[in-house]
Amino acid sequence: MKLSVRNCVWDGEEIEMTDNNVTQLTPAEEDPIVDRWLNSLPELSPGHGFEDAVMARVWVPVPHWVRSVQSTTRALLDRKRVWMWAGGLAASSAASIAVIVALMVSHWVQVETAWSLLSGSLLLEAWRLGVALIGRTLATAIALRDVWGLTGTMTLFAGLAGAVVSASSAWGLYRILMGFNAERISFHASH
């Protein structure tokens, strides 16, 4: 737009409008009524949904970390060798599992006997371990009471805490063994 800057007539004197003398224009600037008029102008709001309408047309760049993950993944997926390795690994795993299952099915009696022996010995070992742990814990508790000079109440609380821990451990062990057993039964029933 072409601008035409004219000189200004102020108090009968023509003033050339420059950066230096515009400060002489204070009378109009200080007109309180004009100020009031202009200050009364409200800021206007666009219609409802303006923000969403703008955002629908704005391209938000993908964050750096997402970009780096995407490029790494893309680089990995692009490599044929990776696919070959992954395929080979999957195929060999599948073949191994198939051979093991076939062997188990064809030699079921031996497998079942071995399983019983293994689970039986496991239970025995677990019992021994539990007894040893409880005995050791009690011995340690008595030793600590003597060393620290625990009062009767404190000993009682410590004993209760120990009992809770022992009961929890026993319950956990029981659940593990029951799960183990149930798995064995269902495995057996399917054949």
Binding site: I33, L38, S40, L44, V66
Partner: protein, 200 residues
């Protein structure tokens, strides 16, 4: 730079930086901060609500899609006002809307179009008579402003509604500082003349 939960108190430069990192919330914050000033400036230039909304949208889309080209040493507000003002001036050149009615756009031929394009002043909690008087005064001021030359209008809006400094207005409008001061002075003088009957 990590995006905090509350970003409304952050500076424009910080919000722009978060937006550049790809945080949509930062983009929305910029829209929320500037939708009213940008829309007000454009509306008072084109005096048509629908067109002002379109131009304000275009302004934001242009600005937000070009955030990478924003240089943080400059004020974000100056940048967005410059683009908004250019959009409004371009529209005025194309449509020759220099003389507009506050009752709506000149091409508003139906009542709905007139309502859609006319100025809506918010309720201020005054009595009906006061509100009517305020509305009438507001309409007269808006009408007087619409009679100013577009460059005067830009200057006076940026100065008095957006509170920009003279130097900032000069930067936004690509004008010498002296010219900006002259325009504002002349715009005020013209407004004073146009609203003489209101003063009395």
């Amino acid at each position: 730079m990590r995006l905090p939960d509350e970003i409304s108190t952050a500076t424009d430069q910080e919000v722009v930086e978060w937006a550049r990192q790809g945080h949509e919330r930062a983009y929305r914050e910029l829209v929320r901060r500037y939708q009213r000033p940008v829309f007000s400036l454009i509306y008072r230039m084109v005096h048509d609500r629908e067109r002002a909304e379109d131009l304000a949208q275009e302004t934001f889309v242009k600005v937000l899609n070009a955030l990478d080209s924003y240089r943080p040493q400059y004020k974000f507000s100056s940048w967005i006002f410059k683009i908004a003002n250019n959009a409004a001036i371009d529209r005025l050149r194309r449509r020759e809307l220099d003389t507009l009615s506050l009752d709506g756009a000149p091409d508003a031929v139906t009542a709905e179009r007139q309502e859609g394009s006319s100025l809506q002043i918010a309720h201020s909690g005054e009595s009906p008579l006061q509100e009517l008087e305020a509305r009438e005064l507001g309409s007269q001021i808006e009408r007087a402003i619409s009679q100013l030359r577009p460059e005067y209008r830009s200057c006076i809006m940026l100065r008095h509604v957006e509170g920009c400094a003279y130097e900032e207005i000069a930067e936004i409008l690509d004008l010498p500082l002296g010219t900006v001061k002259t325009y504002i002075h002349r715009a005020r003088s013209e407004l004073r003349d146009l609203l003489e009957q209101v003063r009395e």
